[in-house]
């Protein structure tokens, strides 16, 4: 592992020189592409990301356009609405497509904020130790003493819903995990022989951080991010399901499931499509995450 990651860090710093070598990243990409489940996951995730990005072009109707004369149509009942319409007469297919945008946006935004906050704080705690470490450790301890989604519910109940507030509420708990991981990584890396020898031959603090610490803590971080995204998507769906997440008229699969609960006896399509979408997207991300973990950390495989 040591030699492999050392060459990987070289590859990061001088990509041209290492172009013909077997690098950690190239090996990982090969292992990932050979993992059938991971590839299935990648296809699923790509599909939903595609929907999210091109929702404006793909959706046949605006997500908030109400057709008063076409309320609660079943799929196929009207040629303009292949997935039927919802309880106020909006095209369900269009809302499903925009729901993908909501889910993907929340997942990516929450993890982006979590990384932006968690990596520097965890990094400082792990590398500097001392008082900074003590503060961060206590903070982590307190934040993990409470279920993340409950905390999000609490915050949303005070701030009110809406996509920005949902993202902020979920980021407040999501960065903790990233900080904890970064701290643990740096704590163990700091003691590694190659870092010690780098320090001994007089490499600067900055050099050690850029060349050894960051590249080597990247892989576990990547895995954590790939699992953090579906966790955030799950939490958004949960909040919206309870009716305190995304506000009307914006589309969210979780909210669609929550509303469908009152209509499920007759209008089964309202429940079926968003539940399938949530399950598929969650599975897709999990397959990708598992595949990434197996590909990036061959030691885990037996």
């Amino acid at each position: 592992m040591t030699s492999a990651s050392a060459s990987a860090s070289d590859a990061l710093v001088q990509p041209a020189k290492a172009s013909n070598q077997r690098t950690l990243w190239r090996d990982a990409a090969r292992r990932f592409s050979r993992n059938r489940l991971a590839m299935v996951g990648l296809v699923i995730v790509t599909f939903f990301v595609f929907l999210a990005v091109f929702a404006d072009v793909l959706a046949p109707h605006p997500y908030d356009k109400v057709y008063f004369e076409r309320v609660l149509l079943f799929p196929g009942e009207h040629p303009a609405h292949p997935m039927g319409t919802d309880e106020v007469g909006r095209d369900y297919l269009s809302r499903m497509i925009y729901g993908a945008r909501t889910s993907i946006t929340v997942g990516l935004a929450v993890m982006a904020i979590a990384v932006a906050i968690g990596v520097p704080i965890g990094g400082i705690a792990g590398y500097m130790g001392g008082f900074a470490d003590w503060i961060v450790s206590r903070l982590v301890e307190i934040m993990t003493a409470f279920p993340g989604i409950l905390f999000a519910i609490l915050i949303i109940s005070v701030w009110g819903g809406g996509i920005t507030k949902v993202i902020m509420a979920l980021s407040i708990t999501a960065w903790i995990e990233i900080a904890r991981l970064t701290r643990a990584q740096l704590l163990s890396l700091r003691e590694k022989e190659y870092v010690e020898s780098a320090r001994a031959i007089g490499v600067t603090q900055r050099g050690i951080i850029m060349r050894h610490l960051i590249p080597n803590s990247l892989t576990p971080l990547l895995v954590a991010i790939s699992f953090g995204i579906p966790t955030a998507i799950f939490a958004e769906a949960g909040l919206s399901f309870l009716g305190i997440g995304i506000n009307d008229p914006f589309a969210s699969w979780g909210k669609m499931v929550g509303v469908s609960n009152s209509y499920v006896r007759v209008y089964w399509h309202l429940a079926l499509f968003p539940t399938l979408a949530i399950a598929l997207l969650m599975l897709g991300f999990t397959f990708v995450g598992d595949g990434l973990r197996d590909a990036l950390d061959p030691k885990m495989l037996e």
Binding site: E141, I142, A145, F146, P147, I149, L150, I153, L154, I155, S157, V158, P230, F234, A237, G238, F241, L242, G243, I244, V257, G258, S260, N261, V264, R265, W268, A271, L272, T275, I278, A279, M282, L283, T286, D290
Partner: protein
């Protein structure tokens, strides 16, 4: 050991203090309280009267101090949504149902989860193993309210075998030799899938691990019966790491009931939690959050203690322990 436990207890108290302060401050920073103008205009004098009655006119640290003083005596105030009762009475009325759902869920999750894990470990790398692994991944990934709606669509809407929701708390359907009420089945199954998946996964890896140990090989070399090896040597030792699975399951159980009770319209604490948030019912929200925090902390502490009790090799507080 005693010192370690005391330390844990102290940090638990610290966490509870922080949680209570944060919740309290957040609850009181809400724009628009329960007596704001949205539910009809109040004369200024009446408003001031109500504010005085509920102590909302005092500075926030005084309010916090008064609240905690009463809370420690078991008085969490009066819920705004049902002023004729107390928060304590409302929780007392609802916790029994939530506990019933939770207890049945834990039983089912452990029973099926351990069996699945054992079967998978014993048939390692066969199609049964892959099936259990896939089932565990499915159960762990798909949100429980999604599974709940699928169950409703199939068994209540399509097949009409089971009721859509509700919960027979008194168990009056248990007459005539029946073991369960029909409205218990779907909530418990949907609720138990995540813990079941976790338990199956932990059991499998734990049993596989123990089967490779020297003492298991020795037992086999001695010519013991496979079943004896499995139950006397492997399973008993494999149970130990299972305690850590509890640490993963507890948060899922504590938050899962909110969703399950909402889907199936069960009048437990989880559902009151949601209605309290909609009604900005501070006393109820505070009490429920504190309850969850206490439960969470105590359960984790118990898990740690159980760990030493089951496995004498683990020493709490020692260096390298799971502190």
């Amino acid at each position: 050991m005693t010192r370690y436990l005391l330390g844990r207890l102290l940090s638990l108290l610290l966490v509870l203090f922080v949680v209570s302060v944060v919740t309290f401050v957040l609850m009181h920073s809400v724009p628009g309280g329960p007596f704001d103008e949205s539910k009809g205009r109040l004369p200024e004098a009446a408003r001031a009267n109500i504010m005085r009655k509920y102590g909302l006119d005092k500075p926030i640290y005084v309010q916090y101090w008064n609240y905690m003083k009463n809370a420690l005596r078991g008085d969490f105030g009066i819920p705004y949504q049902q002023p004729q009762t107390t928060v304590t009475a409302l929780i007392a009325k609802t916790w029994r149902i939530t506990l019933q759902v939770g207890a049945m869920t834990v039983l089912l999750a452990f029973g099926v989860g351990i069996s699945l894990g054992l079967i998978a470990a014993y048939n390692q790398n066969s199609w049964i193993d892959s099936f259990v692994t896939f089932f565990a991944m499915l159960g762990f990934t798909v949100p429980n309210f999604v599974v709940a709606l699928w169950l409703i669509l199939v068994f209540a809407v399509r097949l009409k075998w089971l009721p859509m929701g509700g919960w027979s708390a008194s168990g009056d359907c248990l007459v005539a030799g029946r073991f369960f009420c029909s409205d218990w089945i779907m909530p418990v199954v949907a609720y138990s899938l995540i813990p079941m998946a976790i338990i199956a996964r932990y059991t499998r890896s734990s049993v596989v691990d123990v089967m490779r140990q020297d003492y298991a090989r020795t037992a086999r070399a001695k010519g013991l019966h496979e079943r004896t090896i499995m139950f006397r040597h492997v399973f008993r030792n494999a149970l130990i790491p299972m305690v850590t699975a509890l640490g993963v399951i507890i948060p899922n159980l504590l938050t899962g009931s909110i969703f399950i009770e909402t889907v199936f319209r069960i009048n437990g604490m989880g559902k009151y939690f949601v209605t309290s948030i909609f009604n900005r019912d501070y006393p109820m929200i505070m009490a429920l959050f504190l309850l969850v925090a206490v439960l969470w902390g105590v359960l984790y502490l118990l898990t740690d203690i159980a760990y030493t009790w089951i496995d004498p090799r683990v020493r709490l507080g020692a260096k390298g322990g799971n502190a």
